[in-house]
């Protein structure tokens, strides 16, 4: 089998890029409310951050627990640059502030990466965690730079408007973010095609052999870490422009954890996986957290299930099904898929009803024992409701186990058929 891209694939990917660009430009026309513009801006920022994180996790096999250090410090430097240089003359154009953030992220990655990338694997993970804690603890100690509890705020509408763009309206900032996102995504994709990007994959898979062919894995990791720091800083700088305030939370462990969680959920093994993850991240932070107070519990549970059953993330699930559909095997699986979807949603429903009932007892007990859940009135003081829910959950889990086995069986059958067809086509005269 040849791995060289054939012309069809190349054109296909060009159409994909065009569609991505057009979608980014057209989105604010379709969703034009204030909330959706804010969310779209955050998605752009998150896409850059998650892709830069995946440069470490997916491409380099470096599990970092402190990526927010680089986005966060980039954001701080960017907002200081905005305050210091954009008002004076000669003024720094506001559009270039994210680049300052990028350079800052790169500088800090050079500094900290020198320590962290000396190691790989588990030790690397622990050191990044330690450094993240160090920076977060520092941020509360040095109010001159980090602004203490209140953070540092700025004003992006400074200086003379360039070509009539003042960055007053949020949609102008969105287009700036979209432009940066597009350029950064293209650049990061291009990075995966460079010799350095390929070497980084090799370092992930087998550092010893990389050493044997004459490269220093440590230096490759360090270089990739610096590049990832640059993109992370750009994302931080865009965040600073978007929110016009930066506080210590942006370097916190929760932020780093979110990057890790959603990059993995989106899929670290495919380039486009973190983009899905970033979109989900913003949706979860803005909408899911409105919907339920227990959203982090759902997130953690989904994450654990994903690690156990689909370690390639959503992107790998999508690609598996695309491959199946391309070979025309989807139709045979549809009934099994239907059953699976039914049993999964049954389980999810029971589980979330249980969680919401416990939460209701804990937090909203003052509002009476009755909880409205999807049109149902659940009485948290009635033994009948509790035991009914538990019985329902038990049945749902049993039926999920049954449908999952059935589905796995058919899935394997279809894949076997697909393999056989491929072999037959390959050996046919």
């Amino acid at each position: 089998m040849s791995t060289a891209p054939y012309a069809g694939a190349r054109w296909g990917s060009i159409w994909l890029w065009l569609a991505f660009a057009i979608a980014m430009l057209a989105m604010p026309r379709i969703f034009d409310s204030g909330l959706s513009i804010t969310m779209l801006s955050q998605m752009g920022i998150a896409i850059i951050a998650c892709l830069s994180y995946n440069m470490l996790l997916g491409q380099g096999g470096m599990l970092s627990f402190g990526h927010a250090v680089y986005t966060g410090l980039g954001a701080f430097v960017a907002i200081h640059a905005l305050n210091a240089w954009c008002a004076g003359s000669p003024a720094l154009p506001v559009s270039l502030v994210p680049l300052i953030g990028g350079l800052a992220g790169m500088g800090f990655a050079m500094l900290f990466g020198y320590v962290t990338t000396r190691k790989s694997g588990t030790t690397f993970a622990m050191i990044t965690l330690g450094l993240a804690e160090l920076v977060f603890a520092m941020s509360l100690m040095v109010p001159e730079f980090f602004g203490g509890e209140g953070g540092v705020s700025g004003n992006r509408v400074v200086g003379a408007p360039v070509l009539g763009i003042s960055y007053g309206p949020a949609v102008q900032v969105y287009y700036l973010i979209a432009l940066y996102t597009l350029v950064c995504v293209v650049l990061m994709y291009a990075f995966t095609q460079t010799p350095l990007g390929r070497l980084l994959n090799a370092v992930r898979d087998n550092p010893e052999r990389v050493e044997f062919i004459g490269y220093n894995p440590q230096r490759i990791r360090y270089t990739a870490f610096i590049i990832a720091g640059f993109f992370a800083g750009i994302s931080g700088g865009l965040g600073a422009l978007n929110f016009e305030i930066v506080n210590a939370e942006v370097v916190g462990a929760a932020r780093s954890g979110a990057y890790l969680l959603f990059t993995f959920l989106g899929g670290a093994t495919f380039f486009f996986g973190p983009i899905i993850g970033a979109v989900l991240m913003v949706l979860a932070f803005v909408m899911l957290s409105e919907l339920t107070k227990a959203w982090l519990l759902y997130l953690g549970a989904v994450f654990m299930l994903m690690v156990m059953y689909a370690p390639g993330g959503l992107a790998s699930l999508i690609m598996l099904n695309v491959r199946l559909a391309r070979h025309g095997k989807m139709r045979a699986l549809l009934p099994a898929y239907g059953l699976l979807a039914l049993s999964v949603s049954g389980c999810a429903l029971g589980f979330s009803a249980l969680v919401e009932m416990v939460y209701h007892r804990q937090l909203d007990a003052a509002m009476g024992p009755v909880l409205r859940f999807l049109g149902l009135a659940l009485d948290t003081s009635s033994v009948l409701h509790w035991s009914g829910l538990l019985v329902y959950l038990g049945v749902a889990i049993r039926s999920f186990a049954w449908t999952r086995r059935r589905f796995a069986l058919q899935w394997n059958v279809q894949h076997q058929i697909m393999e056989d067809e491929r072999l037959r086509a390959a050996t046919a005269p």
Binding site: T122, T123, G130, L131, V142, A253, A294, G300, M304
Partner: protein, 344 residues
């Protein structure tokens, strides 16, 4: 003098508590190659379960029941989650324990609420274990338990008396930690089970071919590690504060301990635990800043420096970052940790 004694005892007890956690973490790591991110979560679960059991049955039963429950949960987690991702490699193993921290944190907030619960030690452990009385004439003396307030109040102004109590919970913490460590050591070196565990650490294949169920040994070790964390949680929770943030606070320190001591080295973890426990305890009670030290040495700082953060920060204020600074320094100058044997 009494400040030094009491502080070192406090530091020692905190260090021993850290070692209760880092020993389980190290055992699990050297056996399975998994750095259990959720270890501090089991510590927190121990504190909360201990709190609930203590309300139902009293503190002493809680000290037995809570670790058993947490240990069983740990064993189940190993059996049904960790073992499933073992074939995918170390990163997914680390990730699933990372996901577990989210789930445990949220479940704790779900069941026990978002604010600290009032987990008080039993009456026996409340109050000081002994009190050091420093009398400017009679010298230093030790009194068991609390001393009468009259003893600490000087009758005339010429006498100077300082009473420094040492809390009984701290003493109990040291006692439990040392007992536990001794019994683990005996278990590992003097019993059949211990020998199988030690053999499974280095030669899992050979142990398996001798007819031992190595995955079950892994499960038991993981469960035992979680139970130790749970026990530490009951004691730590009743001594300090039982709150949802306790896992994050202790967790990152314990990881620092394990890396500084050298991954997989029990004795390294012991030394690093005591070191960090003592350094942190002393640091939080030292109220000197760079400015005040220079001033007392007779040197004045340049006016532009006075009042800046660098001159103003006291050692007590920088105490939280000291363990991480130590971590970075160790990694620069001794990358395998204090007693680690291999470079990772």
């Amino acid at each position: 003098m009494e400040f030094f004694l009491i502080s070192s005892l406090n530091g020692l007890s905190y260090g021993l508590l850290l070692f209760m956690l880092s020993s389980g973490l190290t055992l699990i790591f050297s056996m399975m190659g998994v750095l259990n991110f959720a270890h501090a979560s089991f510590y927190m679960l121990g504190a909360y379960v201990g709190y609930s059991v203590a309300q139902l049955a009293g503190f002493w039963p809680a000290m037995v029941i809570a670790p058993l429950l947490v240990g069983a949960l740990g064993a189940l987690f190993e059996r049904y989650c960790l073992r499933r991702v073992h074939k995918f490699g170390h990163v997914p193993e680390l990730l699933i324990t990372f996901g577990m921290t989210y789930v445990v944190l949220e479940v704790v907030q779900l069941v026990w609420g978002r604010i600290a619960v009032d987990f008080a030690p039993p009456a026996l452990l409340q109050g000081p274990a002994f009190t050091l009385v420093n009398h400017s004439v009679a010298g230093l003396s030790v009194h068991w338990g609390a001393v009468a307030p009259a003893m600490c109040n000087a009758a005339d102004a010429a006498l100077r008396i300082v009473c420094s109590p040492f809390p009984a919970t701290r003493g109990f913490m040291m006692l439990v930690a040392i007992t536990m460590l001794a019994s683990i050591w005996l278990l590992l070196t003097r019993t059949r089970v211990g020998l199988v565990i030690q053999a499974a650490l280095t030669h899992p294949d050979a142990v398996e071919s001798l007819g031992h169920n190595v995955p079950r040994v892994f499960m038991l070790v993981f469960g035992a590690g979680a139970a130790l964390a749970g026990l530490a949680g009951v004691i730590g929770g009743s001594t300090f504060l039982t709150e949802p943030a306790m896992a994050a606070t202790v967790g990152s320190i314990v990881f620092v301990v394990v890396v500084v001591g050298g991954l997989g080295s029990l004795s390294g973890a012991f030394i690093a635990s005591l070191l960090i426990g003592i350094v942190q305890t002393f640091a939080v009670s030292l109220d000197y800043s760079l400015g005040s030290v220079l001033a007392s040495a007779g040197m004045a700082m340049a006016p532009s420096w006075q009042g800046t953060t660098l001159a103003r920060l006291t050692i007590a204020q920088v105490a939280p970052i000291l363990p991480y600074l130590l971590l970075v320094l160790i990694l620069i100058f001794r990358p395998r940790g204090l007693l680690g044997s291999r470079e990772g």
